[in-house]
């Protein structure tokens, strides 16, 4: 894999992470003076750093990135101190991060600015088993009730728990056409980056910022820097969007995108479906970037058309004309650029407690002793201890107790189709205590049932559940027990994320399905040999 970076390389070098750079050498860096040409040239990584004035001059003369365009189009005002007031088009709301914001609004005696910009849906606390009985846990039930009451009181559109349109907020938004190209989308949820797949600027916010948007329709923001991650060429068969994004995170690290908005580009990204692009943008936050985005193309527009919240008739034509301008200009300047060769990317499995701790399915668990940096080495050892793994074990020899197919990363129809294709005609291994599929929304569930996917899963021994966040973060009853190991299509393998003491390995839907069948991690291509 070849990585070209400018600011990023220098930053890493400065931090003394020479071990990583050495692996990538020679580091190819785009020289500042050659920014207008598309040529890449080998040079000393210290050579590129321009002085800020020089950089600003060139930036002013050059084109805009996709992020620049959307930012500029939503700038209400810039204060003397440089702070920007940014207008918000779509505010997605769920039950966990909004109650204190509504309470704050009431306490201050403030009005809701624009109810029609909001779409609300409970997703974190909802049960994935029979909903008829409601929510058993009284604390969870209360939180969902508070959302229902707030939406009723303020006149906000909400898909309540018994609505077929209910589901994970980041699945529901795009599915309803509530996420459109060129929008600024926010939600009190870090995985809001998902919506950037539509050529929108979408990022997660805290509860105080939720309250700020409710009251003002704006946010006080500092502009991020621009990073482009190019995945060049086509991926090999069996490599999915999840593998691409895990490989990117493995390369730049969980803090690699901090302070940046990442635009994902290149042939491999363009070749992805909208579902695949959502998977990639969803995990931009796992690379430290608040927002990830992909330029608009025909696929974007085709996906958006005809959905309940999408424009139609004459307005659609007007919208499409604008949407077609949503790409980065050829001469736009990125503060950092990372290039991966798609052909080098293999199916990924995480081995540790941070999404950057990822390796290929045919690799072994890395040895902390090989890491030069002391803080990183300690982090690796801590992760191995928590995960109950030893260095040098082949990933394929790691057995799993549970399998979870779901979450805002991988619970859309395409994900379920990919998993069902692997599962079809096979049985979940006896050693696997539980394998479950949790569709991203009621509509995804319905479609999967119409396509016969639910039958394939159930015949294989999977549980077919109601939609919600479920075991991605285990706020409802779906959780791992201490020491249990899970092949999960979710986005975070943090300690305790899926239940205290639970051990999470992040994988694609196809790999999760394969692990369920084999009882251990296995490349889908090798499943036949069982």
């Amino acid at each position: 894999m070849c990585v070209y970076t400018r600011r990023y390389a220098a930053k890493q070098y400065y931090r003394g992470q020479t071990g990583r750079l050495a692996n990538l050498s020679p580091v190819k860096v785009r020289k500042f003076g050659q920014i207008h040409s598309n040529k890449f040239e080998l040079c000393d990584i210290w050579a590129y750093i321009p002085c800020p004035i020089q950089k600003q001059l060139v930036r002013d003369m050059s084109g805009k990135t996709l992020y620049d365009k959307i930012w500029d189009a939503h700038l209400v005002r810039t204060g003397e101190d440089g702070t920007a007031l940014l207008y918000i088009d779509r505010h997605l709301v769920h039950e966990v991060t909004s109650p204190q914001a509504f309470a704050g609004l009431r306490m201050a005696g403030r009005q809701l600015w624009r109810a029609d910009s909001i779409l609300a849906v409970p997703d974190h606390n909802v049960p994935t088993t029979d909903r008829a009985a409601g929510i058993e846990d009284p604390v969870s039930r209360e939180q969902v009730n508070v959302l229902d009451n707030n939406c009723d009181e303020f006149g906000i559109t909400e898909f309540k728990m018994d609505d077929v349109r209910q589901g994970i907020v980041h699945v529901v938004g795009p599915e309803q056409g509530a996420t459109l190209p060129g929008m600024v989308v926010v939600c009190g949820d870090s995985h809001t980056s998902t919506h950037g797949a539509f050529g929108a600027l979408a990022f997660g916010i805290g509860t105080s910022e939720v309250e700020h948007v409710l009251a003002t329709q704006c946010l006080i923001q500092k502009k991020s820097r621009n990073m482009r991650v190019v995945v060049d060429g086509r991926v090999k068969s069996g490599v999915t969007a999840k593998d691409i994004v895990l490989a990117i995170i493995g390369k730049i690290g969980t803090a690699g995108g901090a302070g940046y908005t990442i635009e994902f580009a290149g042939e491999a990204i363009r070749a992805l479906s909208m579902e695949g692009r959502m998977t990639v943008c969803n995990m931009a936050i796992e690379a430290g970037a608040r927002a990830g985005m992909v330029a608009v193309d025909d696929k974007t527009i085709e996906y958006v058309k005809g959905r309940p919240f999408s424009p139609s008739g004459e307005t659609l034509g007007q919208a499409v004309a604008y949407w077609r301008t949503l790409y980065s200009d050829d001469d736009a300047i990125f503060d950092a650029e990372v290039i991966l060769k798609a052909v080098d990317i293999k199916p990924q499995v995480t081995w540790g407690t941070s999404p950057e701790m990822t390796v290929a399915i045919d690799a072994t668990v890395p040895d902390p002793a090989d890491e030069m940096d002391e803080v990183k080495r300690n982090g690796m050892q801590k992760a191995l201890d928590y995960m109950g793994l030893k260095p040098g074990i082949a990933i394929k020899d790691i057995s799993v107790d549970r399998v979870f197919i779901g979450s805002c990363t991988n619970s859309r129809i395409e994900d379920l189709r990919a998993a069902a294709e692997v599962v079809k005609g096979r049985k979940v291994a006896a050693v696997v205590k539980q394998a479950m599929v949790v569709p991203g929304s009621g509509l995804v569930k319905k479609q999967a049932e119409q396509e016969g996917l639910s039958v394939i899963f159930q015949e294989a021994g999977f549980e077919w559940r109601e939609p919600g966040c479920s075991m991605c973060l285990a706020m409802n009853a779906d959780r791992l027990k201490a020491g249990e190991r899970c092949a999960s299509t979710s986005n975070r393998n943090f300690e305790g994320r899926q239940g205290q003491g639970g051990r999470t390995h992040l994988v694609s839907p196809a790999l999760a399905a394969a692990a369920a069948i084999a009882g251990h991690f296995i490349d889908v291509a090798h499943l036949e040999n069982l």
């Binding site: 209400v76 990022f203 805290g206 991020s224 982090g379 305790g496």
Partner: protein
Amino acid sequence: MRAFVTHSGIVAPLDCSNIDTDAIIPKQYLKSTCRSGFGVTLFDDWRYLEPGEPGQDHGQRKINPDFVLNQPPYDRATILLARDNFGCGSSREHAVWALTDFGFRAVIASGFADIFFNNSFKNSLLPIVLKEKYIDFLFQIVNDNPGYQLQIDLTQQRISGDDFEAIGFEVDKFSKHCLLNGLDDIGLTLEHSDSIRDYEGEHRRQAPWLFRA
């Protein structure tokens, strides 16, 4: 919002990078609809030896004696020292509420996750970014002198201790202004209501499909 001008307090060292908000406050406590009461479950999985649930008497739970915040005098710490990418992961502001509820007024680290960083300022928790060499230095001095105290002066943007000259830090002008004066930024934004309405009118003309009502 509570103002932050100067602060002096004990520094607790937490020598890891990538401390995520799931670790700062686990998911089961996010079911609360209040902003307070999270301090007792801050770093819950690391702080207690047995699992916890909301509503239980946490005073009865077995604590982990090896965890820094359970070791006096760090149970009275008000400044947290950590490594890169502090507060990564989930956007949950409950992580900041848990830190402030415990008594923390500042976190010093070599880097913060963006959402956590923003959330901190909204709650008068000062996130201070220092270069790694200063972080290494502070870890050494704090580890060598348990209970070590630092003074933070936001007006002067500097940290000082008994054994060293001041270390300067950056903070953006707007956040500093809000913190020094304890200002509510919603109130400040609403002073620009006319600008927002003007923008909104123009935006509606240019992109009518974004407005349903």
